[in-house]
Symmetry: D2
Subunit: 290 residues, 4 copies
């Protein structure tokens, strides 16, 4: 699978996010500890909000750990909203159009996990993508199709509902094709202002996902840590696996839930896929977080 | 657009086909004379029949003119059926899955040209691809969709009819969407035994296509040319533009026609797209060759 | 050879420099008009000054014209000193370590042209590079060796003298080996504050080089051009070939001369290689500009 | 470091060597068990003898595990002498010119390990390379310099002595610069007829190296194994780590020794570096194998 990192807060150099932490995302590209695969060397991508109306994305088919351009860019690019993703392909080709984050207008999307038996259900899913969005899909990943389903279902207006409907469709189509575990993964999306992160799998055993503790709390707990004091109180990270060793800094996102990082109070809520008929399914994989 | 070369005959080193001629395909990658674009530097591909049941393909996103691997492989690979293609993208990404030739089982396919307004008609075309073939499409080119339409319509049994039906569909769908010139191009396909080459465009102004003169004739005309005497009488090349300077060696494939290179007598026949309803269209672009 | 662009002035988006002009550097990568080669598709590089102490460089082995990362970065990176270079290899491999601009500490360097018969003289030249700088050479180009010779001769203290000594050495070593035209090219170097551009060839027929007219003059001549009014009076470009169509905007750098773009008055001065013995050579290739 | 495989014997498909074994080299690119690094994802290379006078090499900067071209080539290329190498960079750039095997005329060379403190001793070593060979070095690895030192010392006439002299120089120069462990590694070289494999390190703790048991013995031990019966009695593999699970198939090459795979009786002999003054050194790292 993959590993990813989402950041929202005080503008920081990409270097601080990607290289500085002891168990940074770049280190994870060679040695992930919680991922389904230890090595995530099948390309990577970074997205950030900067000068232009739409976010920038930088995609590479080389492993992140030896990419010199990434190292250089990371020392010079500063942004308040950053997505970064390292890929371990589950079969689809290693090409830039399969690198996350994906972009649509002001929106970014990334995903760790998979749609079960994707090649079997792909056509049925793609048919549900809005025809006007159809030509925008340039790669061959399940993640990109999921993004365009969410866009079809109104991601830009109501992200949680759109993702619930997209995954509800994935489960309905999977069921039709006899797929056992239709959906697996963690996903993040942002419009450059708020950030949504989802953790869900049809079998109720989702890939790991963590969010950072409120910076105010951390500052109180670690009054001598200078890095913390450079961060605004609103700064927050969501990651596939903890990438620093600061005690008390990381909290697991519960199964079947999603979080919103936004101006004001952040939120953590239950996530329940919505089937195409509008009904919420009952049964496996939908237990609410404690 | 692109440039391509198809060879069938005595087994030859790829080097003889790709590098030796004065105006070779590799030279054309930098300086095409007849192409819509002079530079064809957006990746390339070579396909050939060798040890395995299915043909080999080698795809690269680098320009052919400076690819050291191609140069080395060309000195060591010998085959009796070779396809080679250099790409000038008309918009779709430069990635290996967009490099020709495309492969399905024992079949290879390559194309120079384009489906008009492809992003507008793509979804309608893709929907006609046999669902069992659908997941095999890994890239984003019109050429790969065209190949899978032809496969859907029976390419493996009757190539000319399958291609006529595929292009008939392209024209019908284009018409529905108000596309002016739905189809443009030259195409080649092979199963490793026979080779079919097509020249057709909806507006009747197709990309150039040439076939080599019968080797027996060339041997009689050039009794002192040693290269010719290494070739079997059955050897034949079909190319986007002539790649050698031998007098009398190249003949233009007429508008709206296709050729078959096969055991026994090669053939040159008229090509007429077949619309989905089975009717042959009347009007522009379907005039038979003289 | 290659084409390059150097900019110093008001911070601008790379996009304005690289993509906006009618005959932009990106266009030149496919269709150069004044270059020794029309196509400059063997990789490219961009260097700029930003957040870190040392400038950023972004190198790619793909042709610039189809690099999506460059297009995205260009929309988000703003800098007051930018170097950009598109490469047409004269034989050395297409790899990132052969892409310009080269960097040493705060210095950038790029070059269009060649050291004559480089493989014959390379060892003798490399031996003159300061041993402490020797391991920094990572590629195989003449341009990188030239840069390290200039660094050896004090580029960081007195660029014109260092370059005169470096090229004097190239000519002396070339003479020893019987090379006809030892040096050919245009070069640019910067420390992020001032910018030096050189035009010189041993035979007195140097690659083209142009500098932009003083912005104050252009503003007076084109009072209605809004782009000009965004530029500070100090803004200046030096380029291999003019990349815009503004009347009166471009002036040729004379043979055997160099220019300095700096705070205060820019300068244009004669350039004369200095042989290792300290003497200035007499004869061809050293005529002063009018 | 890296992992490598050398094969000499009955012509086999690359696929049999690279993909078929349970713990194949391709598997090792993701999960090496005996290597200094578990992941060997910094490019790879394959060399083989085929149609041309000189061997073919195929180099790629992508990880071997996801390279589609390699997979296709492996199904179609058959050779009696094959070198394959997967790289884990110890700092030098990931570029094709740093991929093994290196080639000179009919000779191939590959190396797993390193020259200690290479950047400190590189210049002194390079100066000892024959000036006529100097321009052939295109990359920046210690391995390529070692190859050219061995060529300088007569590799083509007497490989063991040439390698002993090359490594003797490395140790002498390392000593001068105060390098603790000047040499580490296993190396293989071939002219397409015989094959030499070396295991040596200055500290006497060399990277692992194994050779396959005589095919006659294996056939007697495993009379029912069909793969063995396709192999000629002369077939032999030398590998960084065993890549199959056949009992009794693999034997460790002792410390400080080298083997020769050749027509007639293969040999295993002690390896002792020769210092530049011609004397054999005494002391650590030179103990003969039991």
């Amino acid at each position: 699978m993959c590993r990813w990192l989402a950041y929202s807060g005080s503008p920081v150099l990409l270097e601080e996010l990607l290289y500085r932490p002891k168990h940074s995302l770049i280190v994870q590209s060679l040695h992930s500890q919680l991922g389904a695969e230890e090595t995530n060397g099948d390309g990577f991508g970074v997205g950030w909000y900067g000068e232009a109306d739409t976010p920038a994305v930088f995609h590479s088919i080389e492993p992140a750990w030896n990419d010199r351009n990434l190292r250089d860019l990371a020392r010079h690019i500063r942004s308040g909203v950053v997505f970064a993703h390292i890929r371990a392909s589950t079969g689809s080709p290693v090409q830039q159009t399969n690198c996350h984050p994906f972009r649509h207008g002001r929106w970014l999307w990334m995903h760790n996990g998979l749609i079960g038996d994707f090649l079997r259900v792909k056509r049925d899913l793609v048919l549900q993508v809005d025809p006007s969005l159809y030509p925008d899909m340039e790669g061959t990943t399940d993640s990109e199709v999921l993004f365009h389903l969410a866009l079809t279902y109104g991601l830009e207006d109501d992200p949680p509902t759109a993702v619930e409907r997209a995954i509800g469709l994935v489960e309905a189509v999977g069921e039709k094709h006899g797929v056992d575990h239709a959906m697996q993964g963690t996903m993040a999306t942002t419009n450059g202002e708020s950030l949504w992160a989802f953790r869900y799998s049809s079998e109720g055993k989702s890939r790991s996902l963590f969010y950072s503790t409120d910076v105010r709390t951390l500052k109180a707990q670690h009054p001598d840590n200078p890095v913390l004091h450079e961060l605004s109180d609103e700064s927050r990270m969501v990651v596939s696996e903890p990438c620093g060793a600061l005690a008390g800094a990381w909290n697991e996102v519960p199964e079947s839930s999603y979080g919103v990082v936004q101006e004001g109070q952040d939120e953590l809520r239950p996530f329940t896929p919505r089937r195409p008929n509008g009904a919420r399914p009952s049964g496996t994989g939908t237990k609410a977080p404690a």
